[in-house]
Symmetry: C2
Subunit: 132 residues, 2 copies
């Protein structure tokens, strides 16, 4: 199957699929006309990449996960450790983002938002007073 077809089945843009091949994440066969040729197995791996990336794993982590995906002898403990580390990372990002939101929300809440120049948001960003 051509790349466009594989793209539709995997949910990854053709450009991204070629990029993944470039960086050695997944190699495709070639048809006689030079077009890339994908098997259903390839499509499964592409979908795997699409989901892994979508869940926040980096490309390097995806490379690792994909090799575990191919490894019929893998230990699920290894996979679980990677996923747990990612979970910690997501939780950290989440906490940071919540902090940002609360700070910004507080600033917005205190701003009249009218035609006058006085603005607690600006004051907060300027850092004259405590922002958090």
């Amino acid at each position: 199957m051509n790349i466009g077809n594989a793209s539709q089945r995997s949910g990854l843009p053709p450009k991204t699929i070629r990029y993944y091949e470039d960086i050695g994440l997944l190699k495709a066969g070639r048809a006689d006309n030079g077009y890339r040729d994908y098997s259903m197995d390839d499509v499964h791996r592409l979908r795997f990449l699409q989901r892994s990336r979508g869940l926040g794993f980096s490309v390097e982590e995806c490379r690792q996960l994909l090799s575990l995906y191919d490894d019929k002898e893998r230990e699920s403990a290894v996979v679980k450790a990677i996923a747990e580390a990612k979970l910690v990372e997501i939780d950290r990002k989440l906490a940071e983002l919540i902090g940002l939101r609360d700070t910004l929300r507080h600033l917005v809440h205190n701003c009249h938002g009218d035609s006058r120049p006085e603005c607690p948001i600006m004051d907060g960003l300027a850092g004259d007073d405590a922002v958090q």
Copy 2:
């Protein structure tokens, strides 16, 4: 004052300050020896940038905020609108991240994490079953 000093006072690395100058975010004077020379006013603007970036505003948004910061006639409503839009964006990111965390948490929870190859995380990433 030299860039190192301005860096310490603003919390921005010298490299970043030079980069901001490169992209026209903030211009510094020059001393006789060719070194950049910063006033306390410059430091205030650098701190303003440091805080704005830290709160998740893009460099282009910071450019806009900085010009409002300088505008003594600004309307606080304009600032508030920008901050509110950013708040919506942060909330959207937050919701997405929470979705990711829940999905991943669910997968991790279902995985034994032992020496056997069976792994619900892998199955979830492969997408044979519903991930969310």
